[in-house]
Symmetry: C2
Subunit: 164 residues, 2 copies
DNA sequence: GGATATTTTGCAACTAAATTGCATTTTCTG
DNA sequence: CAGAAAATGCAATTTAGTTGCAAAATATCC
């Protein structure tokens, strides 16, 4: 897979050992075109241990190769950081579909600066918009299809047009 | 307790039966001065069943008496809606302390409008800033004190002064 | 007021996410 | 190649949240 070369380089560049497992996890995230939960990855990478995937994700996040967004549904999802943000994680809004569970980055959305209590130390912030994604809203997805978690979506992140 | 009258009225006004349990849950949230997780409430209201508390919270949220915010730590926290927002839940940012778990409302922070994919239906949004709260940053809280979850904090929501 | 229907509550069991400890394997270093 | 360090797999545990059902409380109707 072409992605494997990429993930190898990314891992090395981030100072992580490019083990086979980490490459597979990162590759999956790279080629997904959308965010993946730990559970998604378990299904996508059969044969890999759940715990090892958890640990890989933690490392990838610490190395700022990916970022995690906590959904209002309580599930943490991971997305590969765009190249220009590598080493400077987060920073954009996300949209979470309450129906199919897909979460997409809204890359062109800057996060606002927020006033915090005096003396507080800010580590990060996340802006999460949630509702029903275009596919689900259009009823294109049957209840059966989307049963449990997000199915492999088209992943195309279209240009935002409406306001929420 | 003075709060009990208030919570009784709030419940009635919202069209919910003002049962003893719901009053206790709502009173706890009213007098907390900060957000409480389900777990906080279980500890704060001994003798009440976990499941009943879950169900009460769900009702309170649906009635827009409180709103819930999903922390980056994966825990859902609940806050009483300010009077002017009752019936119009959400709408402001929150600060979550990663150390003690306390979450406070940043009431004067409006949520920005966010562009979403065309055709998406927005149900809500949340802006969460996380880091270390002033108390923890000042080392006022010992490791033992804050062991597991937020201790009863002062709850004073001071005026935001720095930017995150 | 009493019988009946509806809600609410408590309990037990269950699902799911995430973490921890430890033994084993793999990888790096000299 | 030997020894040290890191990564992996597995089992068990913790925690959040849900579901089904029976018992208790509350409302409704006559």
């Amino acid at each position: 897979m072409a992605d494997d070369t990429t993930s190898y380089d990314l891992l090395e560049g981030a100072g992580l050992r490019p083990t086979a497992i980490r490459q597979r996890v990162l590759s999956a995230l790279l080629s997904a075109g959308r965010s993946l939960s730990h559970r998604d990855l378990v299904e996508l990478l059969p044969g890999l241990d759940r715990v090892t995937i958890f640990r890989s994700l933690k490392l990838l996040k610490e190395a700022a190769l990916v970022h995690g967004v906590q959904g209002v549904d309580g599930t943490l999802r991971f997305v590969v950081n765009p190249a220009e943000r590598r080493g400077c994680p987060g920073g954009h809004a996300h949209f979470l579909c309450l129906e199919c569970g897909a979460m997409t980055c809204l890359l062109d959305q800057e996060l606002p600066r927020v006033g915090v209590p005096a003396g507080a130390e800010v580590r990060g912030k996340q802006l999460l918009v949630y509702g029903i994604c275009p596919e689900c809203a259009a009823g294109k997805r049957s209840k059966a299809e989307r049963a449990r978690r997000a199915p492999a979506s088209t992943g195309r992140s279209r240009r935002p047009r409406s306001l929420g």
